[in-house]
């Protein structure tokens, strides 16, 4: 297990280093931030002075070495626009995005698993057919469109829920969270639902396939023969076993929900990391873009690792193989 962990970690470090290089260098292909930052009537001398302050007057390899050196020490630079450490900017936005992604995850599991298991247990009923066709919609409708429709219906027409922003926050262990206030929940509902629909559709499909596979297994038949209640068979034997692929996929999808909630956050003007990324791209705030992408890479690497560990916890066979290997 330890060898496995070390091997995984060194692979991860390599991925982070390669990504860092690519991201940093590619930032230089998309325009000069000085032209956007400086006042519109700034003279060339003023622009040169600004470039000097930001370190943009140095040759690119020198800039890269400075960046790489600082990054090793965990310093990803300061934002050009806000003059604050980029990591702090990202971490300030992290609770909002985490909250959104977690809520969406809860929604997709709460919606997806019961529907998927039902469809798996009774594959031929008309309800199951409806669920399955519904999941196709969940897959194929674009995220931003769903968001816009939800806004139009629930916010603009019915005026039940707010259309944009994040609600009232309270500090929970020093972290501002909004899911503990009524206002915060109201603001959270629509974006989380938007973000969750695609995943819910995915979960429905996985859960259905998993359930159908599991009910055919010998241990389920044995349980039935033993005279266990239907409830117990489904909840313990079927659901627990079909969760394995669901957990794997959800783990990865959770990462993508955190890193790429960009569209949903933009449509709902939700102040998360995705919106920070879009704003930074528009302003060519290179350090923030680079830091964000580095953060994302790290996030995925960690999530992958955790998924592997959970996987081992759920499935004894994986544990056995790892123990041998």
């Amino acid at each position: 297990m330890l060898v496995y962990l070390i091997r995984r970690l060194s692979q991860a470090a390599l991925v982070v280093a390669v990504m860092g290089t690519i991201v940093f260098l590619s930032m230089y292909a998309i325009g000069n931030p000085i032209d956007l930052l400086a006042a519109q009537d700034a003279s060339d001398a003023e622009k040169a002075e600004l470039a000097r302050q930001l370190g943009l007057d140095r040759p690119i390899w020198e800039q890269f070495l400075i960046f790489a050196g600082n990054a090793m020490r965990g310093d990803l630079g300061k934002s050009f626009v806000y003059n604050e450490p980029t990591l702090r900017l990202i971490l300030q936005r992290l609770p909002a995005t985490l909250e959104l992604a977690l809520t969406a995850l809860v929604f997709s599991v709460a919606l997806g698993i019961p529907l998927g298991v039902y469809a798996g247990l009774k594959p031929d009923s008309w309800m199951s057919r409806t669920i399955m066709s519904g999941s196709i919609l969940g897959f194929s409708l674009p995220n931003f469109w769903i968001g816009l429709m939800l806004i139009l219906f629930f916010a603009v027409e019915l005026k039940w829920l707010p259309a944009s922003g994040r609600g009232e926050t309270v500090d929970l262990l020093g972290v501002p969270v909004s899911f503990l206030t009524w206002d915060g929940l109201r603001h959270l509902f629509l974006p989380a639902l938007t973000l969750s629909l695609y995943k819910a559709a995915l979960v429905v499909r996985l859960a259905r396939a998993g359930t159908r596979e599991v009910v055919m297994q010998d241990y389920v038949r044995f349980a039935r023969a033993k005279g266990l209640s239907y409830r117990r068979i489904v909840l313990v034997h079927v659901v627990k076993n079909m969760m394995i692929p669901v957990v794997t996929v959800l783990g990865l999808e959770f990462g993508s929900m955190i890193a790429f909630a960009v569209v949903t956050e933009t449509v709902f003007a939700y102040p998360g990391m995705g919106k920070l990324l879009i704003d930074s791209i528009n302003r060519l705030d290179r350090p923030v873009i680079v830091a964000y992408l580095m953060f994302t890479v790290l996030l995925f690497v960690i999530i992958n690792l955790i998924v592997d560990l959970i996987y081992a916890a759920i499935d004894p066979r994986v544990r056995l193989v790892e123990a041998k290997g």
Partner: protein, 540 residues
């Protein structure tokens, strides 16, 4: 853990319930772009200036049409060509009750060039200033090295901060390049702390949470006329669709720049729209660099640069149907332009002629200039910077193609566009210019005066149009104190540029605001959204 959550819940329920309904004295604003800092001197950027005006008042104010009005200074005049005297309001106080003194003014101006990490500081407002001194407790004397008629316009930008709160030196003395006994120079982040961000304005900071909201509270000690709104919440809703949805859903009461396409829907839902002609002109620059070694990058079908011929430029401006662009592409929310600033702003001319749309005459001019079969040109444009920028460029391209100048549009995101423009990569490009001072001198100095990096003038004249007569007139104007003479010089210069077709003005943008019934907004040329200008009941 559970106990913490429950107690947190219990604590927040009454709070949350209270925050649900907005009281009649609350105003919620949806911003199109977010200020980058609460520090009024951090970034010379319109959203920052607009926010600062609520909390930190400058010496000089500007009304809706950017006409100068008293603010912290009740009056100002020149003692001689190089000396200005500003008289402070006798009763002006900061929100902590302290009087605004010349020392605060000097402290503020001393800080301008030295704001930590500023991407574009406000030092330009003190151009040519050599000394600033306090006289008594209500007079500030400013001396300049050359006549600076625009000093009051410039001083309408930097908000005055309190020297005592931030620990400014007791005997601070202004000096170019660094003041004596300056004292503490606050970091920009310190202004996020409402206890420190003390100004003399009608509002006080309550909260500045980047990306989420800015909350202001009425300054009940305000020395001037108190605004009607007790609490103002500004939410950055940078996506135009989200902004309009937020307004229609009742999340916010007033929004900046709803997109033209949404006007019918907004009006249909019972909301209102206020508009003001802005100080921003949308123009096209045509490469006029007269250098034997220069090959204009975007021109094909001829070896020479046809744009150097005035007849060609005339043909190209006459080929454009400005009225058509305004009506069909801008939905009527713009005004055709003949010069760089709309009447009645300073230096503009009433009924300035707008180039007549006449494609036949344009073709004839092209033939006279030796291009009966036209030529090919590429028109560069940003596609996310100005209202409908790419669509306007497409329309112009069609109009030029109609007279035989086959035009390709090269549209790109603003960041790439500005970088390429700086490197002279366009033979023709579309862009916009807003006059920060509200005077045409600002526009002429940046767009039409010969590009002279050593003097820092003509910085955005990327066509490299050059007419010594224009240079002379503008440079003379910006050192002429007398308003009448200056205005006349600027009008002459603007006319010369138009006669040369040195630049091709297209239209002036109109800035819209949309708000719920029962409100009014005094729409402003500088595009600022000020809570002080939002009225209850229709304005006008």
């Amino acid at each position: 853990m559970k106990a913490i959550i429950i107690s947190a819940l219990a604590a927040t329920i009454p709070f949350a319930a209270a925050s649900g309904a907005a009281s009649a004295q609350d105003l919620r604003i949806g911003l199109a772009s977010e200020p980058t800092s609460a520090d009024p001197h951090f970034h010379a950027l319109a959203p920052n200036f607009a926010l600062a005006k609520h909390v930190f008042e400058p010496l000089v104010g500007m009304d809706e049409s950017q006409k100068l009005i008293p603010n912290l200074a009740r009056s100002w005049k020149t003692l001689d060509d190089l000396t200005w005297e500003f008289k402070l309001q006798p009763n002006a106080t900061f929100s902590n009750g302290q009087k605004v003194t010349p020392r605060d003014v000097i402290y503020t101006y001393c800080r301008l060039p030295f704001v930590e990490g500023s991407p574009a500081n406000l030092a330009f407002t003190l151009k040519n200033v050599v000394s600033i001194e306090g006289k008594g407790d209500d007079t500030v004397i400013i001396k300049t090295s050359a006549p600076a008629p625009l000093l009051p316009n410039n001083l309408a930008s930097p908000g005055i901060i309190s020297a005592d709160v931030f620990g400014g030196g007791k005997n601070i003395k202004f000096k170019v390049g660094g003041c004596e006994d300056f004292g503490n120079n606050p970091k920009p982040v310190e202004f996020n702390d409402p206890a420190k961000a003390i100004g003399s304005g009608p509002y006080k900071f309550v909260e500045f949470t980047r990306g989420a909201q800015i909350v202001l509270e009425r300054n009940d000690n305000y020395w001037g006329e108190k605004p009607i709104w007790k609490k103002v919440t500004m939410k950055p809703l940078t996506n135009s669709g989200a902004r309009v949805a937020g307004l229609l859903a009742g999340d916010v009461d007033i929004i900046e720049t709803p997109s033209i396409q949404d006007f019918d829907r907004i009006k249909g839902a019972g909301f209102q729209i206020a508009q003001a002609l802005s100080n921003r002109v949308i123009y096209i620059q045509l490469d006029q660099f007269n250098d034997p070694n220069w090959k204009s990058p975007g021109i094909k079908g001829t070896d020479k640069n046809p744009l150097l011929d005035k007849r060609v430029r005339q043909a190209m401006t006459m080929a454009i149907n400005r009225q058509g662009i305004v009506e069909r592409i801008m939905g009527g929310v713009a005004a055709p332009a003949g010069e760089l600033l709309p009447w009645p702003m300073f230096g503009s001319t009433k009924d300035f002629p707008i180039p007549k749309y006449d494609p036949d005459a344009a073709k004839k001019l092209l033939a006279d200039a030796g291009y009966p079969n036209g030529f090919e040109i590429t028109l560069g444009t940003p596609n996310d910077r100005y209202i409908n920028d790419e669509k306007v460029a497409q329309a112009v391209a069609q109009m030029w193609t109609r007279i035989g100048v086959k035009t390709n549009v090269d549209a790109m995101t603003a960041s790439t566009f500005f970088t390429r423009r700086t490197k002279f990569e366009f033979s023709a490009f579309l862009a916009g210019w807003g006059s920060g001072t509200g005077e045409i001198s600002d526009s002429l100095l940046s767009l039409s005066v010969s590009l002279t990096p050593s003097k820092g003038i003509g910085t955005t004249n990327r066509s490299r149009y050059s007419n010594p007569k224009v240079d002379e007139l503008v440079l003379k104007a910006i050192e002429t104190i007398d308003d009448k003479t200056r205005e006349s010089l600027l009008q002459q210069a603007s006319k010369l540029v138009a006669d040369d077709v040195g630049i091709v003005p297209l239209h002036f943008e109109v800035t819209p605001w949309a708000f719920k019934k029962g409100l009014g907004y005094k729409a402003r040329a500088d595009q600022y959204t000020l809570a002080m200008s939002v009225t209850q009941g229709p304005s006008n």
